[in-house]
Symmetry: C2
Subunit: 361 residues, 2 copies
């Protein structure tokens, strides 16, 4: 079974990837000395569909499972929901040692990781990501957070899980939009770091879209390795290595924000952001028109939009200048010098940014 390591000294952990591996979970957990009482944060759909199986895998290994259900919505990433989870956790936390299982997608993972980071100044938690987006991205790297009205992810911590357990079986319950949303981050990894993966995504798109296990395993394995390597080199986003993960995210975040987080979901917004970033790379002569077109085509191939409906350029530009990553008067974009070759570019002229956005609105 593929196993990827995130190397962070005492805070190192493994990412286990496989299909139908849930029954082996107990064995992995037993080795980690996490505690005996498992506080599982999840949503109703997942609890109904997989709750019994997960309970069984835990009970059989001697753990005492308890479910805490939160709404399956970005709204659950709030201080209020975190507070409610913490209160239930404190009630469940008796004399034996408690740990948290984040069982769900990005919302559950970010919320649970944040709760684990602050409860008793930090308790153990593991990630069992159930969406493609979470398996390749949000469950790895310890960035936990909840949102404020004034912005996403404004309250949080860098706090690493003790294990990431990616069972491809869970992806079978995803609809097409959830899958293509995850594929946006997969394409991002390929563009910034992995030409082989890029070719693979071009060649195997039909099998990926059909959800074939072997190709999904290759994808999750490749992306986990990239994310693990980048995280290991820059745990707290201090050295700048982690910045390249923001390819497509500068304008992607602006599109999400401009739509009040109701228009374009994260993956679709990042897809559009990557088209803009590729086009900017072309306008700055970092790549040629053929390279930019290849990226745009791959994004379309996975059912992600290449055009925005219902959002003006002005609103996107305005949202961009409110982004928390925009510091002072400088803008900062992750562009590319070719597939697999990221380059950070500062202070791009506003008219160039506008021209690149004009192509997608």
């Amino acid at each position: 079974m593929p196993e990827v390591k995130v190397n962070l000294g005492k805070r190192s952990y493994a990412i286990i990837i496989g299909c139908g591996i849930l029954k082996q979970l107990g064995g992995y957990l037993t080795k980690l000395n996490l505690g005996t009482d498992a506080f599982i944060v999840t949503n109703n759909f997942l609890k109904n569909k997989y709750g019994a199986k997960l309970s069984c895998a835990l009970s059989c290994a001697g753990f005492n499972p308890h479910f805490k259900v939160v709404a399956d919505s970005e709204k659950s990433k709030s201080i209020q929901t975190a507070s409610s989870v913490i209160k239930d956790l404190a009630k469940f936390d008796r004399k034996r040692k408690v740990f948290i299982i984040a069982f769900g997608g990005g919302v559950v993972g970010d919320l649970s990781g944040f709760v684990a980071s602050v409860y008793k100044r930090g308790i153990n938690y593991i990630q069992i990501p159930t969406t493609l987006l979470a398996q390749v991205d949000s469950a790895i790297g310890g960035k936990t957070a909840v949102d404020l009205d004034s912005g996403k992810n404004l309250v949080g911590a860098f706090y690493q899980p003790r294990l990431v357990f990616s069972d491809i079986d869970f992806l079978k319950s995803l609809d097409r939009e959830q899958l293509s949303s995850g594929m946006a981050e997969v394409i991002k990894y390929a563009v910034i770091k992995d030409m082989r993966l890029f070719n693979f995504l071009e060649n195997k798109h039909k099998e990926v879209i059909a959800g074939r296990t072997s190709v999904l395993e290759t994808i999750i394995n490749s992306c986990s390795k990239i994310k693990a390597k980048i995280t290991s080199g820059d745990e707290k986003e201090a050295s700048g290595i982690r910045t390249i993960l923001n390819f497509g995210h500068t304008i992607g975040h602006a599109i999400e924000a401009a739509g009040g987080y109701r228009g374009y979901n994260h993956g679709r917004a990042v897809g559009l952001g990557m088209i803009v970033a590729a086009d900017l790379s072309r306008r700055l002569n970092l790549i040629d028109a053929k390279g930019a077109a290849r990226i745009e085509n791959l994004i379309k191939l996975y059912g992600l939009p290449a055009k925005i409906k219902g959002l003006s350029m002005d609103r996107i530009i305005q949202a961009h200048y409110h982004d928390k990553k925009f510091s002072g008067k400088e803008n900062k974009f992750v562009l590319i010098r070719g597939i697999g070759k990221p380059k950070i570019v500062r202070n791009i002229r506003l008219d160039l940014i506008k021209q690149a956005i004009a192509r997608i609105v």
Copy 2:
């Protein structure tokens, strides 16, 4: 001006101690590259009494100060208040870099430090402690937290300030109870680590109680050094070195909890807890009766109670067994083998604990 260093690698910081040093604050802050916008968390009393002076010290050095007032009560150490502080902070946080100033006692320090640790996954903060308790103890060491209904300090982080700025001038506004409450922690440091300080406290008690600056400076300097040294060796309470700081706190916490946090304040409860710990040390033949009596006398000398009113032994014992520091079936006490010689003792017989508590109820 005495300056004590907390050595924690990249997270090292200085503790500045002096009298009437507020006007020099700007100079210290400028060197630290904290940001330009100072978000000051404080209470109404302190804002009215020192707000103008503090604003002036900051503005003159080019900082932009903004006050956030919270109630002067343990109730402010809640998720709700933290959430309100965070929301105001996000409103104040514009394009320039923001940092937090915790201007107050333990409540303000613990709350502000926690907010600093989670806002944008951690921003700079400094501590300007205004009570004796905060100057010698809570402002140093990076233990930040808020309370839950089910227990104190259950939500928090280990997050170090960039500076601790202890101006003895602030202690002049303390009443006798606040001063004696702080002295309980001072006596604790002397008992566990510093025979010279213990003798000093015995000899100079009249001058201390009268609030003479020079003796207070000696005390704050000695205690800061001890806390800094212990913190440097065990930042996250992992190695056990920090455990000795809990001398008097095992039963002290139980007394606070048994009284519903309304009966005995922290200092008075710790004073009583130290009498129990000294008596337990005697009962286990670690110290003689004379040594135990010397500790009890010093506690009384500073106006701290030696007897409990309105709390039964049973309620204290019950609260003790609910303490979060009580893990599994084992109890753990910090006792002493003499002044300045701490010793951790596990599994003390319940009848011995009861006998020691019986002396104070």
